[in-house]
């Protein structure tokens, strides 16, 4: 026990003496939260729409004014399709809407008419979101026509229109910042814990201090635990610091128990810290650890459901996610913070994270050899 305390004390002296460490601990969370949450914006606010109105009728101008009235579109008109296409080539247009001649006439005589929508699908997500927005406006427009044409076509006016009222639970205003910032918190503690612990042990190898440690009576588990606890404390501090920023800047709701959150975080951190230590038992240099950690981190983070829900991933990806600790913790943190879930609701996640923590850590202890 005294040995562990000695090692912990030594680690803390070294961490706080390192001039680059303190800025990392305090600046990284602020920058990550502020920059990433604002930058990784999933809302579409200014879709550039170019309209070619070949009909120039009252119906077509009504349709255009519908788009103009929407906060999502910036509407410009163009004379020819060619001009509009050129604009799209220059990335000045996201959507082109072509209203053909006789649009109004057809609508009245044939009871149906068509328009053409062209999407710039360089970014598939943008294109599909623009598509949804366009469809919403057009279908709204459709309904208006049907209702207004009641006096012309009485049989149509008898249609019952179904009004759908949406209510978004746990995030009533659909504020993506709440969703994002809770995810970024997970990334934050993962990065800090995995990189720091990984680099730390391999540094002892690189500098050669491990050689001196290995001939001492320090036991394997003393050493690993002594290395783990300082980073666990720092990572939990990071989480607290990040939560405060998210609360102040984005009014992140904290509905569940903070004790539960930090408890689960500690279990999760044992996994990531253990992974970091495990990597450093395999690698010989800090550079190698950086690359290995970066690889895992990228895969784990992108698959964790920070940007896109894991449920919409293909079947195999969802299976892969079973071994992705970040995905589990991402779920838990959102459940606790946004839904106020209690222990009973996240039992499964806690169990899985615990199994991970124990197995990864024992792997690290097993791999760490004092004798070559």
């Amino acid at each position: 026990m005294r040995t562990i305390l000695t090692i912990i004390q030594k680690e803390f002296i070294q961490i706080f003496r390192n001039k680059t460490m303190l800025p990392i601990i305090f600046i990284v969370p602020v920058v990550q939260l502020l920059v990433l949450v604002y930058a990784a914006n999933l809302e579409m606010k200014s879709i550039d729409l170019v309209v070619i109105d070949n009909d120039i009728s009252s119906v077509s101008s009504k349709l255009i004014s519908k788009f103009k009235g929407s906060p999502f579109f910036k509407v410009r008109s163009s004379i020819s399709l060619k001009d509009a296409e050129n604009e799209m080539k220059k990335e000045d247009a996201d959507v082109i809407m072509l209203i053909p001649q006789n649009f109004e006439k057809k609508l009245i005589t044939e009871n149906a008419s068509e328009i053409q929508l062209l999407f710039n699908a360089i970014n598939g997500t943008t294109a599909s979101i623009s598509n949804v927005y366009c469809r919403m406006i057009i279908s709204g427009f459709n309904q208006d026509i049907i209702l207004n044409s009641g006096n012309l076509y009485p049989e149509l006016a008898t249609f019952e229109t179904i009004n759908i009222e949406n209510s978004y639970w746990y995030n009533p205003k659909l504020d993506y910042k709440i969703y994002m910032s809770s995810g970024i918190l997970v990334i934050l503690v993962t990065v800090i814990s995995m990189f720091l612990s990984g680099i730390n042990l391999v540094r002892e190898k690189e500098i050669g201090t491990i050689e001196q440690i290995n001939v001492t009576p320090i036991k394997k588990y003393h050493f690993i635990i002594g290395k783990l606890i300082p980073f666990l404390i720092i990572a939990l501090f990071e989480l607290a610091f990040g939560l405060v920023i998210a609360k102040l800047v984005f009014s992140l709701p904290i509905l569940g128990s903070l004790w539960l959150l930090f408890g689960v975080a500690a279990i999760f951190l044992i996994t990531t810290l253990g992974l970091g230590l495990f990597m450093s038992t395999i690698a010989q240099t800090q550079q190698q650890v950086m690359f290995i950690a970066f690889f895992f981190m990228l895969v784990f983070i992108l698959m964790s459901g920070i940007f896109t829900p894991t449920e919409s991933m293909p079947d195999w990806a969802q299976k892969v996610n079973y071994i992705n600790p970040i995905a589990w913790f991402m779920r838990v943190i959102r459940m606790i913070l946004l839904k106020g879930s209690g222990f009973a609701q996240i039992k499964k996640e806690i169990l899985i994270l615990t199994v991970y923590g124990i197995s990864v850590l024992s792997m690290a202890v097993w791999r760490y050899r004092k004798t070559s």
Partner: protein, 304 residues
Amino acid sequence: MSEYSVIISNISKSYGDVSAVKNISVNIKKGELFGLIGPDGGGKTTLIRILTTLLKTDTGNATVEGFDILKEYKKIRQIIGYMPGRFSLYQDLTVEENLSFFASVFGTTIEKNYALIKDIYSHIEPFKKRKAGDLSGGMKQKLALSCALIHKPKVLFLDEPTTGVDAVSRKEFWEMLKNLQQYQITIIVSTPYMDEAGLCDRVALMQQGKILSIDSPLNISKQFNKTLFSVKTENKFKLLTDLRNYENMNSVNAFGQYIHYTDLSNSNETNKLEEYLKVKNHTVIKIKKINPTIEDCFIELMKQ
């Protein structure tokens, strides 16, 4: 209790195809200052790493203070001090922090064993608030030695402790080692410097993983059975080639400004050699019979 501190029997170790240590057996007495002398790649470091339980042997076994290096390595780690060839203390911790860290890792304190390290530590104590990384080479070495001694080890292993240290510090360092012998600590030290061999109680000359000879420095020198001359003329390089082409030549080796020479006749006669050198246009010829050093013996042994 046996009189031996370290007993090595038939140890071999290879890295892949390269065998670093070949079937070595040595017994080292308690309280002895034992030197492992030999060129780089001779197997000195490997042998020390095996004895400090950092490496496992392929075959053979050894005991340190009666403990088996394979089965009782945990006990060995309690009683040995080790100073690796590379400075292996925490550069970002201060002198004092390093020392107290290693003290408490061994379950002791600086105060308890201060007497043992006093002579060494007092040199660096004025700088105890300085980071170890900011110390000079000689001071780093003293700190490393202090840390290796802080738990009062029974056996002290030093791997090339004087490599890269200036001549004055080297001399000082050896005096410290000599002083430590009064505490009955067995000291095993490796060095590539032949002049340091003379300071050990016994030395083992190692080359290519084998021990060529084990004895006291004096006895090793006595093994040299040829008459040795030190030769000097104004043109050293020409002298070297001319001596090598001399008909009676047995060995020619450069030693600093001088050339050490033995010939086949093994007599004390120098006239013939002097004649030969005069014919070869050498001037200021100095030929002197000298006593062989360890280095002469080592070179001789290496040839066999």
